[in-house]
Amino acid sequence: MTDATAPESQAPRAGTLFAPDNRPRRRNAAERRFRAYGLTAVGLSILALVVLLSSVIGNGAGAFRQTFVEIPLTLDARIVDPKGNRNIDEMKKVTTIGYGRQLEASMVAAVAAAGLKTEGISDKDIAGLLSKEAAATLRNRVLANPALVGETITFRALANGRVDGFFKGRVTMESAELDSNVTPEQLGLAQRMREAGLITLAFNPDFLLGSDASEVRPEAAGLGVAILGSAYMMIIVLVLALPIGVAASIYLEEFAPKNRWTDLIEVNIANLAAVPSIVFGILGLAIFINMMGLPQSAPIVGGLILTLMTLPTIIIATRVSLAAVPPSIRDAALGVGASRMQAVFHHVLPLALPGILTGTIIGMARALGETAPLLLIGMVAFVREYPAAPPEGFFDPASALPVQVYNFTQRADPAFVERASGAIIVLLAFLICMNAAAIILRRRFERRW
């Protein structure tokens, strides 16, 4: 109607809606630019992720497969039981150096039996194809079962790291020429042994289950102690941080009066969540080790420090989920005669639980990847003994997964690069599992109002 009354002569003020003029053009261009920026940012982060993952997986996938040597071996009583009385205490006097001689003899015999050429290779070099761990493997096997002395057994042991690198493409004939730890002749023999079936490349469960090894035997290094140590610390964090954190937040959110003191506590919790983790390490060293006298390198101390670190995260997440439960739920419960505590524990808490668990798991995932605080309490260390079963095991020395990655990257032998990347893959797998659990919990149980 107003259209009809408009005077015909009055022209549209500037342009029409059908022909865009400068202002909408500029606005549309700005929006297109913003979208392009956004896409670039997403693209860059995906690229970074792809580069990171492909380099880690490319370097580390090999750590899960290892080269093994399998030879028939006759245990010479003159070497492994010189007294000849099968007394276990006497036999323990034979060190791994003695078993090394046994291995050398058996390797030479096995290679000769297979009819392989060994010109220009000394007996010591033939035995050098085996890992230095092999002597310990054999010694443990014999001491566990002294009846084996004099028998012929099939002995399977790790191959030397350089031989392993050769079959994985890390070591080549050209690099062996320059390498003081392996000769091209040795690699040639390894190649022939593989063709003869004495050397195989197979899945290596010891990478996940075995303990760390020294610099001279990278092939034997495993993550068992580190995984156990990390698991122990996570148990401690869960058992301590979850109840304490939830109790603190329920009190602050549902019961505490709103006054200056609770405000102060709130501000401090928020600040604590942003404190760098190394600070908690220093605190832990001073309180738990120096004052309370807890042992060094122990998961209990690591767990306590990570608990302190995770608590603010859990408290904040829990308070947010408690606050998200509508007041009508509380009012209804109170209205039918429930006490405040009953209202909270029977009605509010179950509804807030998915959010609490998500917050807890994400806090724990952060704690799992933490290295800095562990540096100060002696967990960044070479630990070969498995900690005992809990609760005593909480006090035994142990390593942790991120620490093991750090340790591997510091070692001189190039084979440890593969180990470090393999350890990163394991750590990432744990983190992905934890985050997936958090997402599933949220999806399954979260309720919206």
């Binding site: 001279v216 109840p243 006298g293 807890l294 260390a381 630990v383 809990p390 006090f395």
Partner: protein, 347 residues
Amino acid sequence: MSLLKLTVSSLAVVAASAGIAAARDNIQSAGSSTVLPYATIVAEAFGENFDFPTPVVESGGSGAGRKKLCEGVGENTIDIANSSSRIKQSDIDLCAQNGVNEIMEVRIGYDGIVFASDIQGPDFAFTPADWFKALAAQVVVDGKLVANPNKSWKDVNGDLSDQPILAFIPGTKHGTREVFDEKVILAGCEESGAMEAFAAANGGDEDKAEELCMTLRTDGASVDIDGDYTETLSRISANKDAIGVFGLSFYQNNTDKLKVATMSGVTPSVETIAAGDYPVSRPLYFYVKNAHLDVIPGLQEYIEFFVSDEMAGPDGPLAAYGLVSDPELAKTQEMVANREPMGPLSN
């Protein structure tokens, strides 16, 4: 309610388990990252061949290890500090203050410091004077002290290749840096005559002259590496013109990537260092808290095993890894067997 119970009971479990924390039965050591590989090799062999648990070996640096050793006596303190430099009077004072009175000093052998560059690059034959002239902040040109003008190794010494000067040297927190400063830079300073020039310029003050000798240029030709040798190696792989400072054992594990330079005409190797021909080497030590010897099971056995001929001798696994065996090892073995604590520092 149940949550409250859970909290209380879990706290109780933790408190109770703190009570059952048994006496420590494993050896704990900490310290130098240079000694670390040797210590882990010995620890591993010890765990394999003895009925004691494998000792725990922590890294963290020589100074940090000695400080931890001196924290006090008791099961929550470490037993052994690994060190790539000799203990300092300040450490001994700290120890005494905390009740750690008897410390045993055990020299395990010698370690060489080598200069290596990318395997594809040219050969280098250095003298300490070359390094001083290449890296010092001030050098002598035509009898006058001037800010270091040298751009390439050829400027330093006509026999060296025409490659820009770029050196990755250990950062000041490393024990290796001390040896580098003393045995290379300071020696080169004296050798090239710059020391006298510095002394003359400062009215004969020799301390000041030494300090000036060891002041390195800051224009990017000399780069401090605070990480470990793996970092130096990756920097060299990225920058083929650079020369890095490594431990002998690290070089021996990476001979397919690195080319070693001679120093004063001598190629570094276990043999030349043992013979005393190669000039840049240093002793490696560990320090034992004697008060722990009868408390921690296996400690005495471990240190005796460490210095035994089987491990630290010239044919042992430590020598195979790059440790230069100590010619006076027998003396050390005797000292360890007698548990002789170290006397006051002589200098």
